[in-house]
């Protein structure tokens, strides 16, 4: 090891290495802080409380979707249907709320139905991938088309409005504090608990070496199905946030977010090959994507270059993250 051959510099890299192994999201955190600072430099208002709350309510959906993606990536799987699940849940709860009149009980019932739909989609993915042993990337691509079809069946045209009570709650305040702040705190708590759960460890173990996990007596198939189920649940939660922020139904709303969620997971320090990563990293990754998009605008990039610069910036962030963590782990 490096510390043996060069004892002078050995201590610091060793400590750094342990730090990165314990907190794989550290590079993402550094990038995030840098991006926040740059946003603040170019648009001082973007660090105001209102703007930060706006950032949260815009990207909470992507954060949740990235968390959903992270849990399947842990086990070396992938889910290309998270966006479609979110769309399906979005239109389902919109239609349920509309049919039942839009009062508080109907909203709560719709949310329960939404969670059930998300869970069912996740289970379906899990069974197709883990039990039927289809390639995850192709199988979930196929189910994404299926879920999109269902969403188009439920609501063929974008546009049915959500009840005011729903989006006014999401965009409003509770005891003077924006509602999304409570949601973010709730998410942090859930992620903390999940990170210490047995399932998270099992998923990582399966992702690290499925054969070894199987031989040591872990029910690999069941664990992978559970991972997809968890993914479906988080995709449903993401759909709630999309619905809160857009106040309407759209059968295609989540489609573009699928690959962003994969990017966020990788930006957050998870290995796509599985076995290494954290859900909080995926959350940071989602925020990085959001901040890059605003920064590209705040620095005054001409409109015809905005897509290109966004893509480049995400690429750079990926490279920086990977270089830092690779050096630290080497």
């Amino acid at each position: 090891m490096a510390s043996v051959s060069s004892p002078v510099h050995g201590a610091a890299p060793g400590r750094l290495k342990r730090l990165f192994e314990r907190y794989p999201f550290l590079p993402a955190l550094v990038i995030l802080v840098v991006l926040l600072a740059l946003n603040g430099v170019f648009a001082p208002n973007s660090l105001s409380f209102r703007a930060l709350t706006g950032l949260l309510s815009t990207y909470l959906a992507l954060m949740l979707l990235s968390v959903a993606q992270a849990y399947v990536v842990f086990a070396s799987d992938i889910d290309l249907s998270v966006g479609a699940i979110a769309s399906l849940v979005n239109v389902t709860i919109i239609v349920v709320m509309q049919q039942l009149g839009g009062g508080v009980p109907s909203v709560l019932l719709a949310l329960a139905v939404g969670l059930a739909v998300g869970l069912a989609c996740g289970l379906a993915n899990g069974i197709v991938v883990a039990a039927l042993r289809l390639q995850p990337i192709v199988a979930t691509f196929a189910t994404s088309i299926f879920f999109t079809g269902l969403a188009l069946y439920v609501l063929p045209v974008a546009g049915t409005p959500a009840p005011a009570v729903f989006w006014r709650t999401y965009g409003g305040r509770l005891l003077g504090v924006p509602f999304v702040v409570y949601l973010a705190l709730g998410l942090a708590l859930v992620l903390y608990l999940l990170a210490r759960s047995r399932l998270a460890t099992q998923l990582l173990a399966v992702g690290d070496d499925a054969q070894a996990a199987y031989q040591s007596g872990l029910p690999v198939t069941l664990i992978r199905i559970k991972g997809y189920a968890l993914c479906g649940l988080f995709a449903a939660l993401a759909a709630f946030c999309i619905t809160g922020d857009t106040a309407s139904g759209d059968p295609l709303v989540g489609g573009k977010m699928t690959l962003l969620s994969v990017a966020a997971v990788v930006l957050g320090g998870c290995a796509l090959s599985g076995g290494f990563g954290t859900a909080i990293g995926a959350v940071l990754g989602a925020l990085i994507i959001g901040l890059i998009n605003s920064l590209v605008f705040f620095v005054g990039t001409p409109s015809e270059w905005q897509n290109l610069v966004q893509g480049l910036a995400i690429l750079v962030a990926l490279m920086v993250g990977i270089m830092v963590s690779r050096r630290a782990r080497a």
């Binding site: 648009a43 209102r50 706006g54 809160g244 857009t246 709303v253 605008f297 620095v299 409109s303």
Partner: protein
Amino acid sequence: MRKWTAYALTSVAALGLSAGLAAAQDYTIGLSNGWVGSEWRTQMIDEAQAAAEAWSERGVDVEVLVQSANVDVPGQIAHVRNFISQGVDAIIINPNSPTAFDPVFAQAKEAGILVISTDAEVSSPDAMYVGIDQKGWAEASAKWLAEALEGKGKVVAINGVAGHPANQMRVAGYQEVFSGYPDIEIVNEVNANWDQAQGQQAMQNLLATYPDIDGVWVQDGMAAGAWRSIMDAEKTGEIAATGEIRKDFIDLWVENDFTSGASVNPPGVMASALNVAVFLLQGRELAEPADAGQYGNALYLPIPFIDGGNVEEAAAELDGKPGYYSYTSQLSIDEAEELFK
């Protein structure tokens, strides 16, 4: 690594500096466009930027900030939030959804920002719409077609994307017009997704199925495709069909003497909206309140029309422009002022 980071930071700083130099404006207006799939949208933004510059002749400095990228609805909501953070005076948006912006427009209004949508209407009571009436746009060309056919004949329609709000309004428009002509029969309606090649394919199929049709109602770029099929079938003289407004097509139209008519959805709508916005920011009041349309917040602009009578003028106006350039019109500052008290 460190050197590289330093380089990245310097270039970002340089970009920022160039943005910061353009200071001391009277008004800052944010333009948001959520789809970059056609030249029409590019022209829309270019014209709006030119309109902003034109205000300097009146001693008003209008700075425009543009966010234009292929984004989903949440991505365009982020556009609006960025504008709010930057503290713009007004936001002009070509929205990706009619209803999804209600919450964020409410936040913009709370922050004292004027919000105007253009090209597609929005349901938000906190915004107003400045643009053409998509239904009226379809009605004008349907009416032209019905008259060109002298009120009788077999007609087919080639539509855009099923379920798209603008498409639905257009379909409602032509159906309403044709229902007023009892001798006009709509024999088939198909969707070709606003795609020129699909429009050509659809027209080929329709000509094969119904060799005796008299008229075609077709929208936007699909019209160029449909007319190609009509030319291939050597039916240019027998069929009347609606057209479109790009230079390529208008040249073809003049060259081959099509029986065609085109409602103009001018890319200048965003420039018109900008001129209206500046007057509103100056505290001027509209002479007639903007209360048209299904959401009661629309200010409809006149819809120019090109037919056999003026197509050569249109062609002359487009002379020297690239082939994808659309025939356009916009409210000049003076014309916009006439809308105000």
